[in-house]
Symmetry: none
Subunit: 222 residues, 2 copies
């Protein structure tokens, strides 16, 4: 039995390239591709893949949101995040979303294949750099301020607030953010206000700066 894989990325070349790359492995079969989080969510019940390779930065629903949706409906699917940016934020958020692996985009073919086989076998797969990051984070959390338990690290922004930041910092208007997250503009406004207050910022422009500065979003890709 081959390991069935679904590839989710909004760049056609990366998608096709990845598929072509994986076609060299006898035990792996790419059964589908999606160019957005929404598409992925819809395709999963139909294709029922064993592993999903998911880009994190995508227009509309991002990889982590999509992962949450998918895991909610089918907890058996394994999700590997492929991101060009390895930030604390992404990793911790990703883990909270239940991802099974995290591979940086500058990994090579071998690493990707190993990651797929590993998570298909039920084990988590995290790249060396990511493991290091997780440990560091764990260590510093233990050290500086006792357990912040479930709370997100830092200023105390919530999960949803981080999602809002990602959207806003990618240059979207309130309306566009609302559409992307399937909530009303009023909700987005409220979240945004809370975020600005918590971070001590004055407007959305400063929020974009903050987000980029603190690695909440990545600048490459779109």
């Amino acid at each position: 039995m081959k390991i069935t894989v679904l590839i989710v990325d909004d760049h056609t070349i990366l998608r096709e390239g990845m598929a072509s790359l994986l076609s060299g492995s006898d035990d792996i079969e790419v059964v589908g591709m999606a160019s957005s989080g929404e598409e992925a969510v819809n395709l999963v019940p139909e294709l029922n893949p064993r592993v999903i390779l998911m880009d994190i930065v995508m227009a509309g629903m991002n990889g982590l949101e999509a992962t949450r949706w998918i895991k909610e409906q089918n907890a058996d699917v394994k999700v590997i995040i492929i991101s060009s940016e390895v930030t604390r934020e992404y990793v911790t958020q990703g883990i909270k979303c239940g991802i099974d692996g995290y591979v940086p985009k500058d990994a090579n073919r071998e690493e990707v294949v190993t990651a797929i086989r590993t998570v298909a076998g039920g084990t988590k797969f995290f790249d060396e750099a990511i493991t290091k990051l997780i440990f560091e984070d764990y260590y510093s959390r233990e050290k500086d301020g006792r357990r912040r338990s479930t709370k997100s690290p830092g200023v105390g922004l919530t999960k949803r607030e981080y999602e809002i930041i990602e959207q806003v910092a990618s240059g979207k208007s309130n309306q566009e953010v609302a559409d992307a997250l399937f909530v009303s503009v009023k909700t987005v406004e409220t979240h945004k206000k809370n975020i600005l207050d918590k971070l001590g910022l004055k407007n959305s422009l400063q929020l974009v700066r903050y987000a980029i500065k603190n690695g909440i979003i990545s600048l490459d890709e779109e």
Copy 2:
């Protein structure tokens, strides 16, 4: 005779994926890969490829600078830029650097292969969206004020516009920018509008992103 190709991208997966993708074409042969502009410049004399697929956003020397270097030493090499970002800036700058083609990252295999064959044959290849952008630009230049000839890059930003960007991207409101530069809010609005138009952006949030991404402002201090 196959068309020899060099792939330059700092993402391993994209690099390998692209190579794998192109291996399906009998008339194309990937003779080398580089993960940076510097590496590419060094590899060209040795490998002497006919076509180079070059990412634009890379750490260190970016794709356009690398293209200038390479073209200076070997004008026969054809360079195709593969960018996830299709902005007026990149395209016009790219053309000035002597690129032979420009393909967005969301193009598919077919487009890339066609692009390679086209430029190898000595013809420029520009994606539909890019052609549109160029024509629009050409048209608007003809319309509103003839050739701007010598002066700045036609669509280039003026000195004042860069000053405005710096201010805006540091998180200031229009009023604050106006105060800082001793002009009226209306002037700031006008400048901002012109900048957004020139860069093909939709709002100030995207301008902040653009400014940081392109190093117009730094994130330290302030």
